[in-house]
């Protein structure tokens, strides 16, 4: 890399297809979705045109160069460092998109305008006069359909012709007048009949139809994930692990004999047999936990999430949940990071950057870190606790929901200031592209395997080593009274907490060989889910929240986790059977939301009534 390549920045409103264009131009794989704010950090790639190599940067979406959240700040900074800016414009919505264009022209950076989604515009009855637009803007304008690659060769060929705008400074009002005159000259709109998809678009944002749709949709998604995941798990079990893998391990075990390596790789035998779930060796439980239990559910979860993301439903879910989230000091958009958290907490905490205030980011991150188990951990819980009956699973989920609510209510009360209400664009429904879907699934699985495998093996290795050195016995002894007294768990369960810091899924699996009752299993899984984030999530939380707020969050975690475990230990089965306890916890959460929330809303009301009195 001796020759310095020029910097090309893709800038544009959220959800106009910048990332699609980016991956088409550079061949790099990036996550694309159909909701504003998928990209929160820039991605870098390379484009080799005929003579030059370009460094291509995909900026987070922004509506203007005056940033209102962290993701938009990133975009504004990128633009100021660019050699050429490619301004991606949504052709279906020229007027709004040209606002950023007008600012880019004022800044005087060399510019090319890409009219993306030109096919969708035609479908919606929007006709654009490209050559006239080019003349009026004074920079090259290229119509494209990024997802299919249409117009991209023309874009690459036009790169050297990028020109700076006139640089005339305008006030916001003047910008809109200027835009209005342009749109009038280049755009023709004919009304079309409403399609059924458009009817569904409306139905899903209106409360009477939208709320039942959301409830049914989420319930079905959950059912499908569990159903198909379980089916996949059985398939793997009976066609791979039973007939091939287990015999292979057994012969390996005989080969190794009795010794250190046998203990590490194969683990403990049960009645002379290897037990894939309980032996706790690297190759037995280690491999089985990842590929036999976690992966089937993970695949199904990411398929479902990918579909929800790409079809454009998530912002509608934000509208549906806005009311509830307001009671917890957040607003509807926070449901998107929360949902992502069910995949992995790391990208979820990053996605919280789309929220405007630091206050919201702290609340949502805390709720994520404590009460939203990642897909791997959830698969383990579903796979292992589900065996004792769905109602035990229900108890865990209800408890997590209650904790989630309590954290929101608590932080909303103690954190100063208020959460401004949301402003979010609702994209049209689009059929997810098969290519983008499979690419996204592939990337997420790859991320899981490369990130998780070392930690899983590391976790099992660590536990074996600590056992050998005797650290675990020491710790178990020290924490035994707490575990036995409050949680009703044997002291051996202490070691799962250590592993839980590395991998939560393995930690849950480690509860199996302890021979726990269903009740103990529920307590253990709940404590493991909530007591602390895994190392990867911890690192990103510290980075995003800072040490002080992270300490606050950690304090909340330890307190709530112990409280939840103790409560379950006291109530489950001894006072209430699992289905009733689940219903009770859920009911308690709903009552808390209804009657205790809304501190920040009241603060905002107070502030607003003050400004009204002053006549501002």
């Amino acid at each position: 890399m001796s020759q310095k390549s020029k910097k090309l920045v893709l800038a544009g409103n959220p959800n106009v297809g910048k990332s699609v264009l980016f991956s088409q131009l550079t061949g790099a794989r990036v996550v694309i979705s159909n909701y504003p704010g998928t990209t929160v950090e820039f991605t870098r790639g390379q484009l080799r045109a005929e003579e030059e190599t370009w460094e291509v940067l995909d900026a987070p979406g922004t509506y203007s160069l005056e940033p209102t959240c962290r993701a938009e700040e990133v975009a504004a900074n990128l633009v100021s460092s660019a050699d050429v800016v490619v301004n991606v414009v949504d052709a279906t919505n020229l007027e709004r998109n040209l606002y950023l264009t007008s600012q880019l022209l004022e800044v005087g950076v060399p510019l090319i305008v890409v009219l993306n989604l030109i096919d969708e515009a035609a479908q919606k009855g929007v006709k654009l006069n490209v050559s006239r637009l080019q003349r009026l803007l004074g920079v090259p304008v290229i119509p494209t359909v990024a997802i299919s690659g249409q117009g991209l060769p023309e874009l690459v060929a036009a790169l050297p012709q990028a020109r700076a705008g006139a640089g005339e400074k305008r006030s916001p009002e003047e910008r809109w007048i200027w835009i209005g005159s342009i749109v009038e000259q280049v755009q023709q709109v004919t009304r079309r009949r409403q399609t059924w998809l458009e009817a569904l678009e409306l139905a899903s944002i209106r409360p009477l139809t939208g709320l039942p749709l959301a409830a049914i949709g989420l319930y079905l998604t959950f059912k499908v994930i569990i159903g198909c995941g379980g089916w996949l798990e059985d398939l793997l079990e009976s066609y791979f692990f039973e007939p091939f893998y287990l015999p292979l391990l057994q012969s390996l075990g005989r080969l190794l004999g009795d010794g250190f390596w046998h203990g590490l790789l194969i683990g403990n035998l049960q009645n002379g047999q290897i037990h894939l779930e309980e032996s706790m060796g690297l190759l037995s439980t280690g491999v089985y936990a990842v590929f036999g239990i976690v992966l089937p559910y993970l695949v199904m979860f990411y398929l479902a999430l990918g579909f929800l993301e790409d079809c454009g439903y998530l912002p509608r879910l934000a509208v549906m949940s806005d009311r509830m989230m307001h009671r917890l000091g957040l607003h509807g958009f926070a449901i998107i990071p929360t949902l992502l958290g069910f995949g992995c907490n790391v990208p979820a905490v990053l996605a919280a950057r789309n929220l405007e205030s630091r206050r919201e980011r702290v609340i949502v991150s805390a709720m994520l870190a404590v009460a939203v188990p990642c897909a791997a951990q959830m698969s383990m819980i579903i796979g292992l606790v589900g065996r004792h009956g769905g109602s035990y699973l229900g108890v865990i989920l209800a408890m997590l929901f209650l904790i989630w609510v309590v954290i929101g209510l608590f932080l909303d009360r103690v954190l100063p200031g208020y959460t401004p209400s949301m402003i979010v664009e609702i994209p049209p429904y689009r059929w997810p592209s098969l290519k983008a879907q499979s690419q996204k699934l592939f990337m997420r699985l790859q991320h899981f395997l490369t990130e998780a495998l070392p930690f899983i093996f590391g976790g099992i290795l660590l536990i074996n080593l600590l056992h050998l050195v005797g650290v675990i016995d020491l710790l178990s002894g020290a924490l035994a009274p707490l575990f036995r007294g409050l949680l009703g768990l044997p002291k051996e369960a202490v070691s799962t907490l250590l592993v839980g810091f590395l991998r939560k899924d393995v930690a849950v699996a480690m509860l199996l060989p302890l021979g726990l009752t269903a009740k103990q299993f529920v307590v253990g899984a709940t404590v493991l889910a909530t007591y602390f984030p895994c190392a990867a999530a911890f690192a990103v939380l510290i980075k995003e929240l800072g040490v002080r707020d992270m300490a606050l969050v950690a304090g909340i975690m330890l307190t709530l986790s112990t409280a939840a475990g103790t409560t379950l230990n006291l109530l489950l089965e001894t006072v209430l059977p699992p289905p009733y306890l689940a219903a009770f916890l859920l009911g308690l959460a709903v009552v808390l939301i209804a009657f205790c929330g809304g501190s920040s809303d009241r603060r905002e009301d107070r502030k607003f009534s003050l400004t009204k009195e002053r006549g501002i």
Partner: protein, 78 residues
């Protein structure tokens, strides 16, 4: 002609944005989304109990919380 806030407007009604009460940040954000004085909007969804509001501006839909909708005033068409 009647001037009401977006929050009070009924689903299906259209009008022109008259005035936005809010801090600089909020006004700038709405402005960037195309919601500025003089702009035509149609309300497409109302939530009960101080819930969010969805409006249509040109061909895009924007959802906003009640607190914000309450500070945007619209002159309703007759």
């Amino acid at each position: 002609m009647k001037t009401v806030s977006l929050a009070e407007m009924k689903t299906g009604e259209s009008g022109r944005v008259k005035k936005i009460y809010g801090g600089r940040g909020m006004v700038a954000r709405l402005q960037a989304l195309g919601l500025h004085p003089g702009k035509r909007v149609t309300k497409v969804s109302t939530f009960f109990q101080k819930g969010p509001v969805v409006v249509e501006i040109d061909r895009s839909r924007v959802a906003m919380g009640y607190g914000r909708a309450n500070r945007i005033f619209v002159e309703i068409d007759n």
